[in-house]
Symmetry: C2
């Protein structure tokens, strides 16, 4: 144990009994896709810190006494910095509160949940993660696309388009991604759809590789545009599709017409 | 609409009103990691077809009147063939039943849910998928490992070790997988841990790449063994770790000691 941790442990004895932080995945959007555990914690929380993509219906499940704090990020507009969020989590827990940190999808899939967990662990705050239904798998499922299928692929890769944008240079190997021959899911990549498609074709993916872009997956507003690597950017432009959206690339996209089971109010599948 | 579909639609008018099939993800093991929607459907189902990895506690949530059918696969021992399962789903739905098809993890992640959905769609049976918390993300989370982390990786890949075993030849590019520089999660791969480690090292992954093997993730019996690509096969052998287990490979595994939050009854982390 390093000196910082020793200090914090000692300090804790003179602070109010510490609370606990739950990093909860709220799922892709439909409120009933939260887990039973996630909902139970939410109903008992003293403080709720929630993101932009969390369905407001979930907040109505909370106690009327609970303090609800919006910390979310909408397309680059951050209500609070990550450091401020981390600090809030620590402070409320040290004040003895049960804190629900409610995040879209799963907390450990590009949600910076790992960093929040690190902060809590380093401060000696009790915490748990309550995994959620990730948008990477469930949003394609709501568009009739299984990310794996015995006849098509035994592997799928999930990438954040957002991070690579922020960093300027992407930190993974596009050539390897193109060669992997599996399903590829991009979260938060719609503003880079043209770049993504170009990169994959440049490194050997066929121009005719099927692609689906799904906005507001699992919600009544769900919209799906289906095309190919060499057409999808223009289709997205014509459909004026904005974030939040999930991009799915690979042979499994071909199953979408047969496996369409969800009836949203504004599907754009006609563009396919 | 093709001829088969027309025939089935016509036939449906003289059959009892068709029921509906829900392909439900039960989550990684802990019963409260099922979704609210999944639990609700389960409680109202007339017929439940469940797999080996589904927690028996969930079945107790079902109506006492519900017919519960074990169809599961335990390590290659199949109670029923996939064709027999497909047939059961269709038959019960055509008899007007609400059918809950309960699968471990998420139905569309290596669960052959895609094939079941295809069968239902081709027979004109109403169906829905109820996504679940996938073991690929949640089991690492229960061992303190976030599959993504801003400082370590912006990409993760999920592979089935099982399928590649059945097929003899694997259908994805090992070299690309090794070069991708992201987190790699193998489901159902523990019996091939030696082969997996050798392949990744052969194609350029450092022998010191951190690896975690997690058995019965999220359950009281959870066991974690942590090592490196060049040590893990021997560690798994010494710990006598059997399926079901999830393998996680990559820098994020280093976070496990700090982020250990779940206290199972028989963790083997001392072997690390």
């Amino acid at each position: 144990m390093d000196e910082t941790n020793t200090f914090i442990t000692t300090l804790a004895t003179i602070l109010p009994s510490p609370g606990k932080v739950y990093l909860i995945g709220a799922g892709p959007g439909a409120p009933d896709l939260i887990t039973v555990k996630g909902l139970t914690v939410l109903q008992h929380a003293d403080v709720i810190l929630y993101d932009y993509l969390v369905n407001p219906a979930l907040l109505q499940e909370a106690s009327t006494m609970a303090q609800k704090i919006y910390v979310g990020k909408s397309n680059g507009h951050h209500a609070l910095s990550q450091e401020e969020i981390n600090l809030l989590l620590v402070e409320h827990a040290q004040n003895g509160k049960i804190v629900a940190r409610l995040k879209g999808g799963d907390p450990f899939v590009f949600g910076r949940g790992g960093e929040e967990a690190e902060t809590l662990a380093k401060h000696g705050i009790p915490w748990e993660v309550v995994p959620g239904v990730t948008s990477a798998i469930s949003v394609p499922a709501y568009a009739g696309i299984p990310v794996t299928h015995r006849e098509h692929t035994a592997v799928f890769t999930v990438v954040t388009g957002h991070e690579s944008q922020e960093r300027g240079e992407s930190s993974f190997d596009w050539e390897a991604l193109a060669h992997l021959n599996g399903t590829i899911v991009f979260l938060m990549g719609i503003s880079k759809i043209s770049f993504i498609a170009q990169q994959l074709m440049h490194y050997g993916c066929a121009a005719s590789t099927p692609v689906a872009v799904i906005r507001w997956g699992s919600m009544p507003e769900q919209q799906t545009v289906i095309g190919m690597l060499n057409t999808i950017a223009e289709q997205v432009r014509q459909a004026q599709l904005q974030p939040p959206a999930v991009i799915v690339i690979g042979k499994v996209v071909k199953l979408a017409p047969l496996l369409q089971w969800f009836t949203p109010e504004c599907d754009d599948r006609k563009l396919a």
